[in-house]
């Protein structure tokens, strides 16, 4: 870790690239990787390479990577076994006239792995499969409306985007919203729109940006399942963010009920682009009726990477390791904050923690704290939950906690307790 601490950090190459990018790319960097969502001027904008639990930006600065590319990196960057399998497949060809055998193998693997799921389809990004799952629910029920939670992220498509640009009112008209854990609101909406609600799409727990993560109340998921059964609605689990970080069955043990459709992406191929939707037998006919395709959705490299990633996750203690390190990080952060007269809350599952300052609803403390952590080589996002990967080590956590000592003190000095 000495190398990280001794670095004198400049982000000039990042900034220079960004200025060039802004000439030829709308917003320079669009979407969730836009600097405005991070800490403009105080963090890197462009990455150069990565290895294990660390990455290097284009200016040569090294970081312990607690964002893991917003989730996809679960075994660690550039994992040798995954990359070797992917390279072998790539050597045979990247994109064919037909799917490869890996598609069948992966579907079989996932169906065997995840209880209650009888089929799987593949795409590239989370939005692809959440949008398709909603359409399957509509096809299956012959109903138009779908319920989601306010502030939940199900992708960038028009029906669920938080941003209004280019979105027709009609595209949003089919979506109703409830608060997280608000079974009463769901019951009221279903009552008001009796016979019109096709389904409910939920993340396993609530992981909005810029605020603490909320776990489900004991009665929430069973209540939603019961309501879906009673009213003939499809229950969709969007497990894209948490997914296999919580276990080989994804978030199913956490929610304790059986969804009708499940969406996975992010951490299933260790950075290779793939998303899947899985469904129960009852939904197969509807799935066959909703057209699904994409030029690159059948390419086998990511499927081979997914098969390898899942095998390694199953054969190693990766899931337990991530949970243990995440617990250490979270508990250490709380202790460190206390020692400096600050109060923080670490929320969410240990492998996907997020920290908030208790008396900081406007995020000023969080932004200063993360700025100081990033300046010392620990990449923590101020507005988005963090991710632990299997390549992180106790030494990484030790270094993060040592650095946090300084960052908490600087935060307190700058903004007060």
């Amino acid at each position: 870790m000495a190398d990280i601490t001794s670095q004198s950090r400049s982000y000039q190459k990042s900034i220079d690239l960004f200025v060039r990018a802004a000439q030829v790319i709308p917003e320079g960097i669009y979407g969730h990787k836009n600097p405005a969502f991070l800490l403009p001027g105080a963090c890197p904008y462009y990455a150069a390479r990565a290895e294990g639990g660390h990455y290097w930006d284009v200016d040569g600065n090294e970081y312990v990577d607690f964002l893991c590319s917003y989730g996809p990196i679960i075994l660690g960057h550039n994992h040798p076994e995954v990359e070797e399998a992917a390279a072998r497949q790539a050597a045979d060809g990247l994109c064919f006239n037909h799917p490869g055998a890996a598609m069948v193998q992966l579907a079989e693997r996932l169906v065997a792995l995840i209880p209650g799921m009888d089929w799987a389809v593949m795409a590239k990004n989370g939005s692809d499969v959440t949008t398709w799952a909603v359409r399957v629910a509509r096809e299956h029920t012959g109903r138009a409306l779908v319920v989601m939670v306010r502030g939940a992220y199900h992708g960038a498509h028009a029906w669920c985007s938080a941003y209004p640009g280019g979105v027709l009112p009609e595209e949003r008209a089919g979506v109703l919203q409830i608060g997280w854990n608000r079974l009463d609101e769901l019951e009221r909406l279903v009552q008001e729109h009796r016979g019109e609600v096709a389904g409910v799409i939920l993340t396993p727990y609530h992981h909005p940006t810029c605020s603490a993560q909320l776990m489900p109340a004991d009665s929430f998921w069973p209540g939603v399942r019961a309501l879906c059964d009673r009213e003939g609605m499809v229950l969709i689990l969007d497990d894209i963010r948490a997914g296999f970080r919580l276990g080989m069955q994804g978030s199913l043990p956490l929610i304790g009920v059986q969804p009708d459709l499940i969406c996975h992406a992010k951490a299933m191929a260790n950075g290779h682009p793939i998303a899947v939707a899985l469904g129960s037998e009852a939904l197969r006919a509807a799935a066959e009726a909703v057209f699904l395709s994409g030029t690159f959705w059948f390419t086998p490299v990511a499927m081979v990477a997914a098969l390898t990633t899942l095998r390694i996750l199953e054969q190693t203690d990766a899931v337990a390791h991530m949970a243990r390190l995440g617990t250490r990080l979270g508990e250490g952060m709380q202790e460190g904050a206390r020692a400096h007269g600050l109060r923080v809350t670490v929320s969410g599952p240990p492998a996907l923690p997020y920290m908030t300052f208790d008396d900081d609803p406007d995020l000023y403390h969080m932004q200063v704290f993360c700025r100081e952590m990033i300046a010392r080589g620990v990449f923590l996002h101020p507005h988005h939950n963090w991710f632990i990967c299997a390549a992180h080590t106790d030494a990484d956590v030790d270094y993060a906690l040592e650095t946090a000592e300084t960052a908490f003190e600087l935060t307190r000095r700058e903004l007060g307790g």
């Binding site: 802004a22 403009p40 810029c210």
Partner: protein, 260 residues
Amino acid sequence: MSEMVQASIYLHGVLPLMEDLVEYDPPAARAIANQRLVIQFEVRDGPAAHLEILEGRMRHGTGRHNHPHIRLTFRTPEQLNRLFAGENVRPGIRKGFTRLAFLTKGFPVLSDRLGYYLEGEGKTQTGPESDLFQVRLGLRAMLGGMAAVANYDPSLADMAAASPTGTLLVRVLPDGPHGTWAKARQNGGHRFVATYMQPVAHANAVMEFGSLAVARRVIDGRLSAVVAIGTGEMRIQGLIPLIEKANVFLGRFSRIMGRR
């Protein structure tokens, strides 16, 4: 874009600029010299604002004044918009027939002079005083326009409802103009308001221009705000969801003004 949104922008984003205009521009200052007058502008079932002229100064206020000297009532927002666009429009004058001379002689001067600085040769003037004046106009129009769009654009009603309550402070460093755009709870609902050069007790989010020159370049469209944020010439901090929503309203306001 609805006529009501445009009318609200005129009343809350453009009309306030008269305050700055009469301080800076001699012909505009002469047009209000020796006047003591309150002019009420109101759209039926829509936005209202007033201008108070006293001792060579002008003050803009939102909503209705208790004792206006002249009350101009526009039957429709479109009627007000046509007036601001320079067309010959006759609003209902419910009060102030004896003070109409100012409307026919003084007000057109103000309108012409504002047009000169917003769209005419005055817009290209440079120098410390011009930079400061243009930044004042731009900042004020931006904040008032964002509030107008947030309050009246039906296509952004969901966005307005979803926006967190709170105050966004926009300021020019080190000691330039500043103002706020805020969502406040009101009568069980919400209302967006803009302030200009008022004391700010607490800002939930802050957007800062690094210098007057940066602010001028951004306001003139010569420097993209995206680039300025990326390079650190502009700084944002605080409640990011509030800034994100503000950015949506600002974008819509800019597109509306660009289409005029």
